[in-house]
């Protein structure tokens, strides 16, 4: 029987994978994808955990991911645009090669 706990473990795994990817990946696009994983891990958490509660508390958990999905879409749009503008100005999406700012 699959219960709430399984979903929470799944979401924790997803979150850790996403965090690891965001910290180690060199490609800007890959980092964006990793961040998406982290967002969706939280979404799974919300929906799964909402089954522990009733009434308004239940609905709060169900409604939260809808907002998050919309915001994540906006976030990716902005992120891709910035990656694209970096590519146009310095011909790379590799974060190691974007190293003009240091000190």
């Amino acid at each position: 029987m699959i219960g709430v706990v399984h979903y929470v473990i799944l979401s924790a795994l997803l979150f850790v994978i996403g965090l690891y990817g965001a910290m180690t990946r060199k490609n800007g696009i890959s980092v964006l994808m990793s961040v998406e994983l982290m967002f969706n891990a939280a979404n799974i958490n919300f929906v799964a955990l909402s089954y522990r509660f009733r009434d308004v508390a239940f609905l709060a958990g169900q409604a939260f991911p809808l907002f998050v999905i919309a915001i994540a879409a906006a976030e990716v749009t902005v992120g891709l645009a910035i990656v694209l503008s970096l590519y146009r100005s310095s011909n790379t999406v590799n974060l190691d090669e974007a190293n003009q700012l240091r000190g």
């Binding site: 980092v31 939280a42 906006a74 974007a98």
Partner: protein, 504 residues
């Protein structure tokens, strides 16, 4: 539904959308008008909010929660209290100054001016909503509304690879931050079954015992705390700050060094302090460690910086350390000791005002310099002989950041350390004072370059731009004025707190 208590937000939204619309209708040669319109509109909103909010429209607004049937909130998500209004005025000042700096920094035929000014206003709207949010959902949405425009603004100089790089770094760090915040919120929701801040902070659920027994709740709150620490660039979450400050356009940096950080401190006051005082000792330690690290590391890194914006980034990290000292003092007090709590709250609110004016004035001068490409400490050499007024204003703001007596920064720091002292955080006070001394070194290095060293290269700043000069004059004047008459701001802070403290 009573929409009048939302009027600052509605007005600001109308203004920013109006700016976007104006951009459509203006011919290409007259786009520079947009910036002036944004400044005019925002000044009007400031006047409306400042003069009608507390008196005519809402006689009780100065110290009472908006009297809505369900206790002052829309859908349990939005609170209008005096504390939020105090913060909103600060954001408007920050945005106004950033707009003036932008006018001076960008040429009249710069591309995408409508979008630029609208985005600054949208980010301000995000800050407004963030300090009024009383639901975790509202907090998350307004946190994003505050951050997304700033990512775009940082990479605004499209053909400048440094600006794009700064934007990308800020974006990636910010996106991870948002994900941390969101995951933390999901854990807190899973543990408590509510996203309403009032349930979360009312004495009871988040006591020390509960935190020790419920690792999910503890982890959720720690995630939220670290996300907020990212946003204010507290050590060890500060890596993005120097790069972003250096690469992004200077007026944008001026805004993002002040408004989002103030908003997040407002949020910290709401989430972690207002009534979580049962677990206060735990948070006090968390803030104290973050603060001690930020002060020390920020200072040590600032010592050998050559780039002015980078130096100010590290100095900003240090300033956040001082705030965290104040927050730590607040959190360590038991909930019923109202007089000492009031001292601590006042200290933090006062230092917010001090930081706002000192930092923005310093960035105003840096905007002036960097508009012509001068960004290093060396390029300040001999500045005083050619530009005495600019140098004087720069000196005043730097001395204020360092905490030298006649300036407002000194009074602010004094209050903060007194608050920490009365909360028995002696080691933190000692560390803070020591760090203030160390920080003098790098602030005075700039002063020495301006006043003592001889000119090595010919610095040409172009002809003076009246709005910027006025803003610098006013900024420098305010820094000294509040420093000499701190009562002006203390009274404001007290009236912002009255109702808040009775709630304990």
């Amino acid at each position: 539904m009573d929409l009048t208590s939302l009027s600052p937000e509605i007005l600001l939204l109308v203004l920013s959308v109006g700016i976007l619309g104006l951009d459509w209708f203006l011919p290409k040669k007259e786009k520079y008008v947009i910036g002036y319109c944004a400044i005019l509109g925002l000044s009007l909103i400031f006047i409306v909010v400042h003069f009608t909010y507390g008196t005519r429209l809402f006689p009780e607004a100065a110290n009472v929660l908006m009297s809505l049937p369900d206790g002052g909130s829309y859908f349990q998500g939005f609170v209008v209290d005096a504390l939020a209004l105090f913060f909103k005025r600060l954001f408007m000042v920050a945005a106004l100054l950033a707009l003036v700096y932008s006018l001076a920094y960008f040429s009249e035929d710069a591309p995408f001016q409508g979008e630029y000014y609208a985005l600054i206003l949208f980010a301000t709207l995000g800050c407004f909503l963030l300090v009024s949010a009383s639901d975790l959902l509202a907090i998350f949405v307004s946190f994003e509304l505050m951050s997304l425009p700033l990512y775009i603004l940082c990479s605004y100089l499209k053909h400048n690879s440094r600006s794009s790089e700064a934007g990308l770094k800020y974006f990636l760090m910010g996106a991870v931050t948002s994900a941390l915040l969101l995951y933390g919120i999901s854990l807190v929701y899973g543990s408590l079954g509510t996203t309403d801040l009032r349930h979360l902070v009312s004495p009871g659920p988040v006591s020390l015992v509960r935190l020790a027994q419920d690792p999910v709740l503890l982890m959720g709150l720690l995630f939220i705390l670290s996300a907020l620490a990212f946003k204010i660039a507290a050590v060890p979450f500060h890596m993005w700050a120097p790069d972003v400050y250096e690469g992004a356009p200077t007026p944008v940096v001026a805004f993002l060094a002040v408004a989002p950080k103030i908003a997040v401190i407002g949020l910290l006051i709401r989430v972690f302090l207002s009534s979580m005082s049962e677990a206060g000792l735990f948070w006090s330690w968390a803030f104290a460690i973050l603060g001690a690290l930020s002060m020390t590391v920020g200072n040590l890194m600032a010592l050998h910086q050559q780039n002015l914006k980078r130096l100010l980034a590290y100095s900003g990290i240090t300033q956040m350390g001082y705030f965290l000292v104040g927050l730590s003092a607040m959190a360590s007090l038991p909930p019923l000791s109202v007089p000492s709590l009031q001292i601590a709250y006042q200290a933090v609110l006062f230092y917010l005002v001090a930081y706002l004016f000192s930092e923005l004035t310093a960035f105003g001068v840096v905007t002036y310099l960097s508009a012509k490409g001068y960004e290093t400490v060396n390029s300040c050499r001999g500045l005083s002989s050619r530009y005495p007024i600019v140098s004087l204003v720069f000196l005043i703001s730097l001395l204020s950041l360092a905490g030298i007596p006649p300036m407002v920064g000194f009074v602010g720091k004094f209050y903060l350390f007194v608050a920490a002292f009365s909360s028995k955080l002696y080691w933190l006070v000692a560390l803070g004072v020591l760090n203030s001394v160390v920080s003098l070194f790098y602030y005075l290095r700039i002063a020495k370059a301006m006043y003592i060293e001889k000119e090595s290269q010919e610095v040409k700043l172009g002809k003076p731009f009246i709005p910027l000069e006025t803003a610098l004059w006013v900024g420098g004047f305010v820094v000294v004025l509040i420093g000499i008459f701190p009562k002006l701001v203390v009274n404001l802070a007290v009236s912002a707190l009255q109702r808040y403290l009775v709630g304990f």
